[in-house]
């Protein structure tokens, strides 16, 4: 799958921001939306592929997926609580 089959409620462009910038941006994004919302963060930092899924699992949210694009990856997460 190259793109998420869900409606994204909030997308944060954290490209060019270095680890842990994109993860912290995702956390800020998650804080600002209601439960059930889908948040995407765009990251060009390779460290995000490791950090973001671990954080999402620890925080009890749903990791919908990581979708590579040209020069960056879109990480998509559903807020569960």
């Amino acid at each position: 799958m190259t793109s998420p089959n869900v409606v994204i409620d909030k997308e944060i462009d954290a490209r060019g921001s270095h680890c842990p910038g994109p993860m912290m941006e995702l956390i800020r994004g998650i804080k600002s939306v209601p439960v059930g919302s889908v948040v995407a963060v765009l990251s060009s930092d390779p460290g995000s592929a490791k950090d973001i899924p671990i954080w999402v699992q620890k925080a009890g949210h749903e990791f919908i997926g990581a979708f590579p694009e040209q020069g960056f990856t879109r990480f998509v997460v559903r807020k569960m609580r």
Binding site: S17, C19, G47, D51, W55
Partner: protein, 379 residues
């Protein structure tokens, strides 16, 4: 040739150094340099780390801003409330407008503890003179229990400081015979104890050797000062007897109110030229920027030199190609009279050397010699 107006907003490390370097590189016929500072007092903030442990009192780390500026720099002491980036002036609280051809924003970071519910009654920190003194008093009374140290949000000033505090505290408690009666836990918002991976790999074994516990992915949601617990967004709750939490940081309100910042109030700054991304005649230095480097005097020190060269070069008609490459050089206290050194830039991560007394004394020397060496531009 008209005299160019250069305004520097903020008299911290970055602002003071930019102003002094420009005054050295330009004549009065080329530029009038004005520095605006809210209180007219220059504070060496790294000194606050030692206050909770009975180090020199905060006044020792303060000097009058005037005494640090070259004579040709004009100093205005007062509140700047708004920047008009189009008409190019800074508006003061009394309505005065200070026009500029070039503006250097060096307004630092602002603490916002109220962003964490329960912070005021429940937590201590050492990121201001008053807070460091309060923490000193609390530590003096401490006779054992659970101490929790953490970071409420990223970014924050002087990233190694909470780790340094933890190591110094562990050492102090051992000296006071309280170590066996105290559990120390360090909270990190991310998946390791420090943002830079190589430093994290260096520091983690030191923490383990000294029995300092850590909790990762702990993003503070609230503090319950009655039951003395701190809870995270991730659903973890940790009890404490003494909580030391670096409060959330935001950019200066003047940046947000002038429409110049991002959502957190940081200045969108080109990582190499240090110009504002929308207004090339506005520069950002130090903690005020959104640069992906430490919010530290060390970074501001390197950035100030680039900004001064670029502005002076443009005024003299010889544009400077100097660019900031993310250089930072700082120390990290590891307790027991030892420290290590962190030297890095955008492309080279730090490789901290083994902790030794040498780096501890070098840091102590810098703390004393700062006034003579850094704001003056000698180093």
């Amino acid at each position: 040739m008209t005299v160019k107006q250069i305004v520097v907003l903020g008299g911290g490390v970055g602002g003071t150094l930019v102003a002094n370097l420009l005054a050295g590189q330009l004549t009065r016929k080329q530029a009038q340099i004005t520095l605006i500072d809210r209180i007219g007092k220059h504070v060496y903030q790294p000194g606050w780390l030692y206050v909770p442990f009975g180090g020199p009192p905060p006044e020792r780390w303060e000097r009058s801003e005037r005494s640090l500026l070259r004579r040709s720099v004009d100093l205005i002491i007062g509140d700047a409330v708004r920047i008009d980036p189009h008409e190019r002036y800074v508006e003061m609280a009394d309505g005065t407008q200070i026009p500029f051809d070039y503006l250097v924003i060096a307004t630092g970071a602002r603490l916002e503890p109220s962003a964490v519910p329960g912070y005021g009654e429940g937590a201590y920190h050492f990121y201001s003179a008053e807070a460091a003194l309060r923490l000193h008093a609390a530590l003096r009374e401490f006779s054992g229990g659970r101490i929790v140290i953490g970071v409420a949000d990223i970014p924050y000033k002087c990233p190694p400081a909470p780790l340094e505090f933890t190591f110094l505290l562990e050492d102090e408690l051992r000296k006071r015979g309280l170590r066996e009666k105290t559990e120390i836990t360090y909270l990190s918002p991310i998946g390791r104890v420090f943002t830079i991976e190589s430093v994290s790999q260096f520091v983690t074994p030191l923490m383990e050797e000294r029995g300092i516990q850590y909790e990762l992915f702990f993003n503070t949601e609230q503090i319950d000062p009655v039951n003395r617990t701190i809870s995270s967004l991730e659903g973890t709750t940790i009890p404490y007897d003494l909580l030391v939490l670096v409060p959330p940081h935001r950019g200066a309100t003047i940046i947000s109110e002038s429409g110049l910042g991002d959502a957190q109030g940081w200045l969108p700054t080109d990582r190499e030229t240090l110009q504002h991304k929308q207004f090339p005649y506005i520069y950002g230095v130090g903690d005020a920027t959104d640069l992906p480097v430490s919010k530290s005097g060390a970074a501001a020190h390197f950035e100030a030199k680039v900004i001064a060269h670029r502005i002076a070069g443009e005024i003299k008609g010889k544009p400077s190609e100097e660019r900031y490459q993310g250089q930072v050089m700082c120390f990290l206290e590891t307790g027991y009279g030892q420290a290590t050194q962190l030297v890095f830039d955008y492309t080279h991560p730090p490789h901290p050397p083994k902790p030794s007394a040498y780096y501890h004394y070098e840091k102590a020397l810098l703390n004393r010699a700062y006034w003579h060496l850094i704001p003056t531009g000698i180093v």
